[in-house]
C-alpha cells in the first residue's frame, strides 16, 4: 500500500495527542517541556507533509515555515529551562504539583 498524505496526518495527530496527554498529566516540569517539544514537532511534520503532497512545492513554503518554528521551539526550550532553574532555587523541587503556593 502506498503511503499517502493521510498516513502522515494521522501519525502527526497521534503524536500531538501523546504530547498533550503528557503535558496534562505529568508532574515533572522538564517532562512538560519535552511534551511541548513533541507537540511542536507534530505540527512541523504536518507542515512538511502538506508541502510534500501539495500542488506547488516549488515555493518551498513548508520547509521555510518549519525552519522558523524550529528556531522558535529551541528558544522556547532555552527560556523554559532557565525558568526551571529559577523554580528549583525557590522550591527545591521540579514537581509542578508542589509548586502551588498561589491560592485563590
Amino acid at each position: 500500500m502506498e503511503i499517502t498524505l493521510n498516513h502522515y496526518l494521522i501519525l502527526s495527530a497521534v503524536l500531538f495527542t501523546i504530547g498533550l496527554i503528557g503535558a496534562l498529566t505529568r508532574r515533572h516540569i522538564i517532562i512538560m517541556l519535552v511534551c511541548l517539544e513533541i507537540m511542536l514537532n507534530a505540527a512541523n511534520l504536518n507542515l512538511i507533509a502538506f508541502w510534500h503532497f501539495g500542488p506547488n512545492p516549488i515555493l518551498l513554503h513548508g520547509p521555510l515555515f518549519t525552519l522558523f518554528t524550529i528556531a522558535i521551539a529551541a528558544t522556547e526550550a532555552a527560556l523554559g529551562l532557565a525558568l526551571v532553574l529559577a523554580i528549583y532555587r525557590h522550591f527545591k523541587t521540579v514537581d509542578l504539583e508542589q509548586v502551588q503556593d498561589l491560592k485563590e
Binding site: I3, T4, L5, N6, H7, I10, L11, A13, V14, F16, T17, I18, G19, L20, I21, L24, T25, R26, R27, I30, I31, L33, V34, C35, E37, I38, N41, N44, L45, I48, W51, H52, F53, N56, P57, I58, L59, L60, G62, P63, L64, L67, I70, A71, I72, A73, A74, T75, E76, A77, A78, L79, L81, A82, L83, L85, Y88, R89, T93, E97
Partner: protein, 166 residues
C-alpha cells in the same frame, strides 16, 4: 518507502510514549531524542533533507543537551519511586481528552481523498533555493526572529541569574 515509513512512524510513536511514561527523567529525555531522530528520518522520506539536518543539529544537538543539563542541575535523575508519577486526578482526564482529540481529528482527516502523488519528483529543491527564498521575500521575518532570540536570551539570563546575590 512504505516499510521505511512504518518503521520511522513506529519509532516516533514509541519514543514519544516512552518520553511521557518513563519514571527516570534521563531515560525520558533519551527517548525523546529517539523521537526527534525518527522525525528527521520522516523529513528525509518527505524529501526535506535540509530540514532533517537542522532537526538533528538543533533538537538532538542542542535542545536535548540543554534538557540533560537542566536535569543535572536540578533533580535526582532516577526518579523517586515513593512519589506519584502523575498529577492527582489528571491521569484519566488526560487520557479522555486525548481520546476525544483523536476522535475529532481522525474522521475529519480521513474524509478527504488521500493524496499520494507528489509534485516534488519534477524538481529537486536545493538548499540554495531555500536560502534565496529566506532572504528574498522572508527577510523581514528573519529580522523578527533575531528580535525573538534577543528576547529569549535576555529573559533566560534574568530568569536563571539570582537577583539577590552576585
Amino acid at each position: 518507502m512504505t516499510v521505511a515509513f512504518y518503521i520511522m512512524a513506529a519509532i516516533a510513536v514509541l519514543g514519544a510514549v516512552m518520553a511521557i511514561a518513563l519514571r527516570n527523567v534521563v531515560h525520558a529525555v533519551f527517548s525523546v531524542l529517539l523521537f526527534f531522530s525518527a522525525l528527521a528520518g520522516l523529513f528525509i522520506l518527505l524529501l526535506a533533507e535540509f530540514i532533517a539536518v537542522v532537526q538533528v543539529l538543533v533538537y538532538i544537538g542542542s535542545v536535548g543537551i540543554l534538557m540533560l543539563f537542566a536535569i543535572m542541575l536540578t533533580t535526582k535523575v532516577t526518579g523517586d519511586p515513593t512519589r506519584k508519577l502523575l498529577s492527582r486526578g489528571w491521569a484519566w482526564g488526560g487520557l479522555v481528552s486525548g481520546a476525544l482529540l483523536l476522535a475529532f481529528l481522525v474522521p475529519l482527516i480521513t474524509q478527504s481523498k488521500s493524496e499520494s502523488n507528489s509534485q516534488l519528483s519534477n524538481f529537486n529543491p536545493s538548499v540554495k533555493d531555500l536560502g534565496l527564498t529566506l532572504m528574498d521575500p522572508y527577510f523581514a521575518s528573519v529580522g523578527v526572529i533575531a528580535l525573538l532570540l534577543t528576547a529569549g536570551l535576555i529573559a533566560a539570563v534574568v530568569a536563571a541569574s539570582s537577583a539577590s546575590g552576585e
